[in-house]
Symmetry: C2
Subunit: 466 residues, 2 copies
Amino acid sequence: MTEIETILRQSLPEASFRPPEPRYLEEPRGRYAGQAVAVLAPASTEEVTTIVKACAQTATPIVPYGGGTGLVGGQIAGEGTRPVVLSLERMRQIRKLDPVGATMTVEAGAILADVHSAATAEGLIFPLTLASQGSARIGGLLSTNAGGVNVIRYGNARDLCLGLEVVFPDGTVMHGLSSLRKNNTGYDLRHLLIGAEGTLGVITAATLRLFPEPAATGAALMVVPDPDAALALLRRVQARAGGGLSAFELIGGMGLTFLDEVGPELRQPFAARPDWMCLIDLGLAQGQDPSDLLEAVFAEAHEAGLVSDGVIARSEGQRQEFWSLRESIPEANRRIGSISSHDISVPVAAIPAFIAEAPGRLAKIGDYRINCFGHLGDGNLHYNVFPRQGQSRADHEEARGGIKTCVHDLVHEMGGSVSAEHGIGRLKVDDLERYGDPAKLAAMRAIKQALDPKGIMNPGAVLRAP
Amino acid sequence: MTEIETILRQSLPEASFRPPEPRYLEEPRGRYAGQAVAVLAPASTEEVTTIVKACAQTATPIVPYGGGTGLVGGQIAGEGTRPVVLSLERMRQIRKLDPVGATMTVEAGAILADVHSAATAEGLIFPLTLASQGSARIGGLLSTNAGGVNVIRYGNARDLCLGLEVVFPDGTVMHGLSSLRKNNTGYDLRHLLIGAEGTLGVITAATLRLFPEPAATGAALMVVPDPDAALALLRRVQARAGGGLSAFELIGGMGLTFLDEVGPELRQPFAARPDWMCLIDLGLAQGQDPSDLLEAVFAEAHEAGLVSDGVIARSEGQRQEFWSLRESIPEANRRIGSISSHDISVPVAAIPAFIAEAPGRLAKIGDYRINCFGHLGDGNLHYNVFPRQGQSRADHEEARGGIKTCVHDLVHEMGGSVSAEHGIGRLKVDDLERYGDPAKLAAMRAIKQALDPKGIMNPGAVLRAP
C-alpha cells in the first residue's frame, strides 16, 4: 500500500471507499481513460478536508468527480501520478430551502433533476436545464459553469449561484454559503471557483437562486429561411415577451435528416424538413397568454417574410414534444458519430456570418455534413462535422485535427470562444494556449500557483501540468 | 524630483499631468485626505501601461481614480509612500456600439450618464442607475461592483459587463473585451477584477450589456403598514409583472420627516407622512399596460390589507417626481448629518426581522433617529443613524464606533453583509477582518500577492497593506 492509501484507510470510514469502477475512469465519448489510486465518496465536508489534507501531505493529485457527464475530459486524469478520484455522490443533501428568499442550499453531489423537483415542490424553479440533468451534479455544473437552454433568460450556472462552500487545496474550508443578493466584501472568489473545473478547490455545497414558476408557459416551432431571419425573429419575440422569453433555439435541417436516418424515432412537425427552424419557449406572468403572443409574433413575422410556416403548442404535451425533438438531436448525432464537434460562441450579431462562412472553409478540407444547432440568443452553436452517409468517423480520423483548427480559427477571427459552455478540461488545453490572451493565461497560472502551490487539484485540466 | 517623477516626465506627454487639486485627494464625506507624488490622466491604455511599468520599477503605489464618488475611501490613499493618482478621466471614448448584439465597449473614464445617453440614442438602455451617475465613471463602477436601484431586474455592475481590458500590476495588458454571452475558457478573471477596487489591476475599458428599452414604463407609491407587508407586496408585483419589475424601493417615514425638516423642498404625495411606503417601478413589454397592472396589484393588495393608500403615476413627469422624492433622501441625510451610515444586506426574507430588532439594540447605546430605506428586493438597506433634532453628529462623535459595531454585529448574526454595494475601500478593512471568512481572506491575500507581488496597486484598500 502506498503512503496515501495507508493514510486514507486510517482516517476514513469504510463507507467512503468505492471500487474503482470504469464509470469513474471514463468519459461519455470514450476519449479518455483514467486511473486512480483510490476512488473516494466522502459523506461530509469534514471528510473532504481529511482527504484533501492527506493528498496535500503526500502530493497526491485529486480529481473531483460529479456526475461524470463532462464532455472535455475534466473529470478524467490519465497521465502522471495516480490520483484520488473524489466523488461527491454521497453529499447530496438539501441543507436548506428558503421559499420566501427563493434560495436553496445544496451539497455538491445533488443531482440537477432532484434540485428541480425540490424547487418545484415549493412552487419555484431552478432554471438550469440541460440534456444530462438526470445525472449531472451541482458541483460539476458549477465547476464547469454549465449553460443549457435557458441561459438567454436566467444566465449560466454562475448567475444562478449566490454562495459556495469550498475546500481549498490546503484543506481549509471557505464557508461562503451566502444567500445575499448583494455583497461587496472583497474579491469574488465564488466566481473564480465557478468555472475553474476543480483546479483551485473542491466545491462541497452551494446556495442557488430560485425563481417563481411562470404563470403560463408556451412554445412554438417556426420555420425561417435563414439564420438572419432567425435573428430578426428573436428580436421580435423579445420585444413582445420582454423577460418572458425562456429559450430560443436554432435547429438546422441536418439534425432533422439525422433523426430520419438513425432516430430516435419521433413525429416531426413539418412534412418537408425545413433548412432552419426556431424553437421558441415562453414563461409568462399572470394575465399574459403565450399562445396569443406567439400568434401575434407569427403573424407579424410572416408579414415581414421572416417565417414561412409554424406550429404553436396547444398543450403542455405538445410543448414537451417540441423539446423532445430538440433534445433528440444530440442522440442522433451520437448515433451518426461526429468527426469533430465544436461548442463555439460568437457575438450574437455575427452568427449568420459564421454560419455562412464556415462550410466553404471546411469544403476545402473534405466533403462533410454539418449539423449546426444551438442557443441562438446566446450566440452559442453546437457546430458538428459528420461524414457523408455510408461513411464513418473512423474513415476521417486523420482529418479531425484540421477540421477542428479550421472551425476554431474562424471562431477566433470573429472574436468568438472555442468553448462556449463545455469548458477546457483536458481536451482544449491546446486551444486555450493557442487562442487565449497571454496576460490572462499568465494571471491564471499565477493564481493556480498561489492557491495550489503543490499542484494537486485536478492537474492537467484547464492549465497544462508544469 | 524623485526617481518616479523623473521617469514619468520623460515618458509621458505634458497633457497627461494634472495639478494635484483637492478633488483628487478628498472623498465625498470628507473622511479621508490623500496625497500624491503625481496626478496623471493618461490618454490611452498604452500610457496606462507606461505609468504602471514605471511604478512597478520604482515600487510606487498607484491609486486608480474614477469619478471620485466612492463612499468607502477606496480612491484616497493618505498613508505610506506617496502614490501616483491615476485618473481615467481622459479615457472616455465609446470604442464600439453594436445595436444588434446589444453591447457597448467603452473606456473606463466614460461617465455613466454619457453611457446612458449613447445607449438611448440606439433605442437601448444601460440599466445601471444610481444617484451619482452624472459623475461616476465606468471603471470605478466596475471596480466597486456598483449596485443602484435596478439590481432587482438587471443585476449588479458585474452582471452588466461581458468583457474587460485590464492593465495588470506588471504592466501587461489583458485584452478581454469580449462581447460573448457564453465563454468558458479558463478562470473568470473579469469577475475577479470587478469588485477588486483597483487592487489587482487597472480596468481601462469594458464591454457592457445593453437591453431593449421597455415598451412602457410606469410607477407607483404605495403605503404599507410595515416591512412584512412590503415584502408581501413585492411578491404580488413579481407574480404579475414577471421580469418587468425594474425597481422596488422601501422608504421609511424618517426620510420624509427629514425632507420636511431640511429639504430639498418637494411635493410629498401623502398629506400624512406614512411610516413605510414602497416605490414600484415597471418597464413592460409591448401590449402590457403599467397603470392597469399597478391598479390590479393595488386592488388585490388593498383587499389583503397590505396597502392602505397609494398613487399611480399618470405621466412620465409624475413617475420622475416619485423618483426625485426617493433620490432626495440621501441629500436630506447629508444635510442632517448621520452619526453612522450602514450599507448592509441580509437575506431578503430577513429584512423585517432586521428592521424590528436593530432599533432596540441601538436604544441601549443612546437616543437616535434612524432613517432606513433601500432596495428591498435585493435585501439591501441603507440603515443610517442620526442625532435627535437640535443635536449634531459632532455631539455623538464618540458613539460612532459603537453604533457601527452594533449594527454590523446584528447584520453578521443574520448572515448578512456589512457592505452590500459600496465595497470595502479603506473604511471597512477592519470590518472585513472582523466578519470575513478566514479561508476566503487567506485566499484573497494569496491572490493579491500572486498578481501584485510588489503591492503597488491601491495598497491599503480592501486588504490591509502588509
